[in-house]
Symmetry: C2
Subunit: 189 residues, 2 copies
């Protein structure tokens, strides 16, 4: 239940609603753990059933009530024990629709493949823009003393994403060159 632990971890920064959690999950965390709203609400229910979080309804004027979740003792313990014990597998089973398509792409036209790779490259560029925003967000956030200690770790993640985006972009360029070469070669024959 990695999503559950993500939620517990976020709640260790303070009480929040499902909606707030979703925003954090989208924003800096989306890079390495995505979740749908509906999944978050379900997970929060499960966590509450297990006694790891408790909720309190706070009425608001002119707005729907806020259902604010906070960690219980058990929740803190569960989260810390998850953090402290080594996972038996570091990486999730990999699944990339994009590479799956490339694997079979001898059956499509070279131009179509090139198009798809260009779109991939564009996506990398968008992610880079987003990553820069995240880096800025970390800077802003870490002005608060309480959050300063996190910045070091969060920047490690940013660094990793930077490298992987660079690798992806480089790869895309090389691919496009190789495809051009292949196209010329096929014309000659």
């Amino acid at each position: 239940m990695s999503l559950g632990n993500a939620l517990l971890g976020l709640l260790s920064h303070g009480p929040m609603t499902g909606y707030d959690l979703k925003k954090l999950l989208d924003h800096p965390i989306g890079f390495f753990w995505a979740a749908q709203m509906s999944q978050i609400y379900r997970e929060l229910n499960t966590l509450e059933e297990k006694g790891l979080v408790k909720s309190e309804i706070i009425p608001q004027e002119k707005r729907p009530d806020r259902k604010v979740y906070q960690l219980t003792k058990g929740g803190k313990e569960t989260f810390l024990s998850w953090l402290n014990k080594f996972p038996d597998q570091l990486n999730e089973a990999s699944r990339s629709r994009f590479l799956l398509r490339i694997f079979f792409s001898s059956k499509i036209k070279l131009d179509e493949l090139a198009f798809e790779i260009k779109r991939y490259k564009k996506e990398m560029e968008e992610q880079l823009g987003y990553l820069n925003k995240v880096a800025q967000w970390i800077k802003d956030y870490s002005r608060e003393k309480k959050l300063k200690k996190h910045a070091f770790y969060w920047n490690l993640i940013v660094k990793k994403e930077h490298k992987s985006i660079a690798a992806g972009t480089e790869w895309a360029d090389e691919c496009l060159q190789l495809i051009e070469q292949k196209k010329r070669k096929e014309k000659r024959i």
Copy 2:
């Protein structure tokens, strides 16, 4: 149903049993699409219900019967239309337990983080070894005329993995240095 399309794609190379499919999924495809045996059997049943594959039981001496699956016309069409239409999202929602742990790692000791990153690096090295085997496998495989045309595309994937493994390894080294620096700094204070 990406797994379904992967299976259809593999079956387009010729009739196979679920077991054979699993071996291919583990071996070169595992890099970008993993699946459990039980999932494959279930997916094959679904594909058969939809009329995209058909199976034939071939009795064997001294071995359990083979249940050989092959594509139907509908299966070929479905696969090709999947290949030819652009997916609305190239990348799956990202999920990395490893990065999730790093995000929260201000709560664990620096040495433990370093240990985890070292293990990550080791995993990268193992993957590199595996990747080299895959590259060799492609070479061997593409001696067969029928499969030669795939080699170009499969090598694009190898190239991508190479780059991403290199990026990961580099990142791990830099992290370990930064952690050492931070440790020294903390001792001084």
